[in-house]
């Protein structure tokens, strides 16, 4: 029942929000309901052992053998938690941002949250697809209505990309559905599919599904929507997109791709990894040359996600562990970055690095918090990202399924260095040095923003120093996923030439 | 209503029965049918002729006296009287030895009536002091050319009672008694 609540709270709250009149009421309602969701999420995560509360199943479309089936496993728990944590932070961090038609804005935000919750919880392929799209539509409206000047075209590109991806995924899911022995959309039937289809079909299906997830993450050739969208979207939506929504892609790989089509994943892992690595390098190099804060953060996000993707396809238990924890970390960190970017933009009216400087003199609190978060983003030890990335590198390096593991490690490591370059460069230019005309009268951040960033910083250090509870949430999952490939050796030679 | 013969037309709307028109049509049919059996008014003209009234004005004729002499003296009164200006004439003096031809010293050497113009009003007859011209009961002349309708004296002159009394009588017709 708790799992249902997680979806239901934001869904209903979102719908109600549409009918609220004043902006303040809507804002408060959104914060309140997101906090409520957070509370439920925390209860769910901490309720270890009592799994029955975390699953729910109801008949939905009997004719199709699809049911409303949700369950919270380790992976889901962590991501739900991320989802639940992210929204209060976002609302707090952008407490002072003004929106026209705020009721609609917050309503759509909450609907997005509901959709993403559903994605993380669904145990039925059709239901998963439903929520996948449900998360997308409100995001589309958010970006198109409240975004920057080029929002319409850019958001549309984003939408079309993701929609094509999800439709291809639908075809893949349907195909799998047709070949499940019991004609069911249930995830268990899906996990059993590999015995019923040929290797060739697996290849097809792998790419159908992978494209959807790759677009969402995004992976190198499918990433072109991302920087534009992040730039044009209203920052709070960007936070949702980059903090939580991209995790849907990685999540999809972990839950719906690798265990379902292990042979193809194994066979095509190298290809995908290469794509991801190229994407990482490419994004990092571009990020160095970026002048726009938002685009910079956006490209850095591509690099980080690429790393996760490589790790996922290296199929290594330690790596998986790292990916899972890093999903959470990255979500938290990047939201923090966005909050600061948003604050800067709101205060100074620009996002150009070249037009800023010396903010630290006037706004020390912001500077400190931001620097912490930025360092976390480049995975300095003691920060949360270090834990995740360390595990991931270990995983890649030790990967048994690829012979390029050294290459991947080296190239990915290079990206981390590049990340340090551009992040520190940005910090130096924006926060230190002399003030410029725009930043001469800068004022420090308010309570709400401090609160939001403070929570993030706390989380950064908590996980960075004592990450055991978070590993505990998801420890069995990584092994399951890894084993789903590694134990299926008998199907592998089918594809591998 | 001047003539008292006008009849007010009844403009009241037709009754349903009348609106069918059929009775009216049938009535009409029988009216025409009744005519089918009526005596025909046609006169088969050349064979039969209608009897004319006494004052019928036909084609002019130039008269002769009992002795067959032309009566016309070319006085021109008829030409003057003619409203249609259809009559032309030229007078000439009677030469000795022509007395059996012309009654007076003067006679019409040329006498023409353009029958295309003549309106058969009879003024010439009225005007003639010598009873030389009168309108006969002949009608319906025919000719192939317009020229032929300009009647010369030869065409107009009545047959000579001496030489052809029968024809003369026929030409005089009922008028004989009157004049």
């Amino acid at each position: 029942m708790i799992a249902v609540l997680l979806i239901l709270i934001p869904l209903l709250a979102g719908l109600i929000s549409f009918f609220l009149k004043s902006e303040r009421a809507a804002r408060s309602w959104a914060l309140f309901s997101s906090l409520a969701a957070l509370a439920v999420a925390i209860i769910a995560v901490t309720a270890n052992g009592n799994e029955s509360n975390l699953a729910f199943r109801a008949d939905w479309m009997g004719a199709l053998n699809s049911s409303f089936s949700i369950r919270m496993d380790g992976l889901g728990k962590l991501l739900c938690l991320l989802n639940a944590v992210a929204f209060p932070i976002i609302f707090l961090g952008t407490w002072h941002t003004q929106y026209t038609k705020a009721a609609n804005f917050f309503g759509l935000m909450l609907l997005t949250q509901a959709g993403m919750m559903g994605v993380f919880l669904a145990m039925d392929a059709l239901l998963f697809y439903f929520f996948w799209e449900l998360a997308l539509i409100p995001a589309y409206f958010l970006c198109s209505q409240w975004g920057g000047p080029k929002r319409i075209q850019v958001t549309f590109k984003f939408f079309i990309y993701t929609f094509i991806g999800s439709l291809l995924m639908l075809v893949g899911l349907l195909y799998i559905y047709y070949h499940t022995p019991d004609r069911s959309f249930d995830i268990k039937s899906f996990y059993a599919i590999q015995h019923h289809i040929t290797g060739n079909e697996q290849t097809w299906l792998f790419w159908l599904l992978f494209v959807a997830f790759a677009i969402k993450m995004p992976i190198f050739p499918f990433h072109t929507w991302q920087p534009d969208t992040y730039e044009q979207a209203p920052t709070s939506t960007t936070m949702v997109l980059s903090g939580v929504m991209v995790k849907m892609g990685v999540f999809g790989l972990l839950r719906w791709l690798i265990p379902v089509l292990p042979a193809a994943s194994w066979a095509w892992g190298d290809t995908v990894s290469w794509m991801a690595v190229i994407g990482m390098l490419y994004a990092s190099l571009i990020a160095i040359r970026q002048d726009d804060l938002k685009r910079l953060v956006a490209y850095s996000s591509i690099a980080h996600i690429g790393l996760m993707c490589v790790t996922v396809f290296s199929v290594n238990e330690i790596g998986m562990q790292g990916v899972i924890i890093q999903m959470f970390n990255h979500g938290v960190n990047i939201i923090g970055l966005w909050i600061v970017v948003e604050l800067i933009e709101r205060q100074f009216g620009t996002r150009k690095i070249s037009e800023l400087g010396g903010i630290a003199q006037k706004a020390p609190a912001m500077a400190i918090l931001f620097v912490v978060i930025a360092l976390a983003n480049i995975a300095l030890p003691l920060t949360n990202a270090f834990v995740g990335e360390f595990l991931m590198f270990t995983g890649i390096f030790n990967s048994a399924v690829t012979k390029y593991n050294v290459w991947f490690t080296v190239l990915a490591g290079l990206c981390i260095i590049l990340a340090a370059v551009y992040t520190l460069n940005m910090i130096r230019k924006v926060f230190y040095g002399n003030t410029v005309e725009r930043t001469a009268n800068a004022i420090d951040i308010g309570l709400m923003e401090k609160l939001a960033l403070g929570i993030i910083v706390v989380l950064i250090f908590w996980i960075g120093i004592y990450s055991q509870p978070f590993f505990a949430i998801s420890d069995t999952v990584s092994a399951d996923i890894t084993n789903s490939i590694l134990n299926k050796q008998e199907v592998l030679p089918v594809i591998k030439k | 209503m001047l003539t008292q013969r006008g009849k007010l037309v009844d403009r009241k709307p037709l009754s349903a029965w009348e609106n069918l028109y059929l009775p009216g049509i049938i009535k009409g049919m029988f009216i025409t049918l009744s005519h089918f059996f009526k005596k025909k008014a046609t006169i088969k003209f050349p064979e039969e002729k209608r009897t004319f009234s006494k004052v019928f004005r036909g084609v002019q004729i130039l008269n002769r006296d009992e002795e067959g002499r032309e009566r016309c003296t070319a006085c021109g009164l008829c030409a003057v009287a003619c409203p249609a200006e259809a009559i032309t004439m030229e007078g000439a003096e009677r030469q000795p030895g022509e007395e059996h031809l012309y009654r007076e010293e003067k006679y019409a050497a040329k006498y023409e009536i353009n029958m295309l113009r003549c309106i058969f009003c009879g003024y010439c007859e009225e005007a003639c002091p010598k009873d030389a011209i009168y309108l006969s009961q002949t009608f319906a002349q025919a000719n192939y050319h317009r020229k032929g309708f300009i009647y010369k004296k030869e065409d107009l002159l009545i047959p000579n009672p001496k030489e052809d009394p029968e024809a003369y009588q026929r030409a005089v017709g009922e008028r004989a008694g009157g004049k």
């Binding site: - | 009409g28 049919m29 025409t32 005519h35 089918f36 025909k40 046609t42």
Partner: protein, 355 residues
């Protein structure tokens, strides 16, 4: 029953019959022109043509001679082939109708039964309709080919009039067909033989007076007779669709009209008035050679037909011409509903009767 069951005598016989009937139609048409003038004269208290021959009986020949020797003018701007085709079609369609009419009882020549019907097909009435519906073409093509506005207008008028009235005509006959249960002309005539008053009471006109009435009006319209002679309304359209025609081509049109009149008279007699049935007497009991009986019947049919021809002429000199809209209103809004009602009532009566 098969249309193409042919042997040599059959062909000969039919050829003769066709020739005979065409000749008859021609002669009748010729004298119909004479009759028309005569009737017109009588109705107008005149005596009509009386110069050519006794009582003017040679008048049609004189007219024909005149038409033959008149100069043949084909307008320059006309479409020549169609200009010639027009009167031809009019004539052909007029003559074709007679093919299914049972002119009389069969003759017996050299022990061979010779039917006096060119083709006894089982869809005789439909055939008549088919041919009648073609009659429009003569008018239309002629009027159009003349390349003259008046002719064209008349042709269009004629066509629409004929099409409109054909409907009511067909509907009026359906009730009759319900009675007879056959479309075969010979069967329809047989149906009307015998019975009281020498077969008089079995004439269909007594069962279908309304049907006959409608049929009669439509026949008038189909023949372009007054009051439906709009296609050739002299004072509106000069002379109608055959305005540009002269000589024998005009003659064909005029002939066709009179043949149509005659044939429609024959059709009406056949369908409604017992065909070759002689009323008041039961000729079947007469003890004379059947050939005589056939000839008598034939005469009877001609008499009836001539009577209708007379009625046509009679109407012509009684009733003024319709206006165009009146014509259409009469056809579509009066006759067709009437014919439908007639049909439904007949059907009901038959239904009740049969029960």
């Amino acid at each position: 029953m098969y249309l193409l069951a042919i042997d040599g005598y059959f062909i000969l016989e039919k050829f003769l019959l066709v020739g005979l009937i065409i000749t008859l139609s021609m002669v009748v048409a010729m004298y119909a022109t004479y009759a028309e003038r005569k009737v017109a004269a009588f109705l107008q208290d005149r005596i009509g043509p009386n110069r050519a021959g006794p009582f003017g009986l040679l008048q049609p020949l004189a007219d024909g001679g005149k038409l033959f020797f008149k100069e043949e003018i084909i307008p320059l701007a006309s479409s020549k082939a169609l200009f010639i085709l027009g009167p031809l079609l009019a004539m052909i369609t007029a003559l074709m109708t007679s093919a299914v009419i049972p002119w009389s009882r069969p003759l017996y020549i050299f022990d061979r039964e010779v039917s006096l019907q060119i083709a006894d097909i089982n869809i005789g009435i439909l055939y008549i309709f088919g041919v009648v519906s073609l009659g429009v073409y003569g008018i239309m093509i002629g009027g159009w080919a003349s390349n003259n506005k008046f002719s064209l207008l008349a042709a269009i008028r004629g066509a629409s009039q004929m099409i409109s009235y054909e409907l009511a005509m067909g509907l009026s006959l359906i009730a009759l067909l319900m009675l007879t249960g056959s479309l075969q002309m010979s069967v329809i005539v047989e149906n009307q033989q015998g019975g009281r008053l020498g077969g008089l009471l079995s004439w269909h006109v007594f069962y279908q007076p309304l049907g006959f009435f409608i049929f009669f009006i439509c026949a008038l319209a189909e023949c372009n007779r007054t009051p439906f002679d709009l296609p050739e309304a002299e004072n509106e359209l000069n002379f109608g669709y055959h305005q540009e025609y002269s000589s024998m081509k005009l003659g064909f049109y005029l002939f066709a009209e009179y043949i149509n009149m005659f044939i429609s008279g024959v059709v009406m007699s056949t369908l409604f008035f017992g065909g070759y049935d002689i009323p008041f007497v039961n000729e079947a009991t007469w003890n004379i050679h059947p050939n005589w009986l056939a000839i008598l019947g034939f005469m009877m049919l001609l008499t009836k037909a001539f009577f209708f021809v007379f009625v046509f002429m009679w109407i012509r000199w009684t009733i003024p011409r319709f206006r165009y809209d009146q014509l259409m209103i009469l056809g579509w809004k009066k006759l067709i509903p009437l014919a439908l009602i007639n049909m439904v009532v007949t059907a009901l009566v038959i239904l009740i009767w049969k029960k």
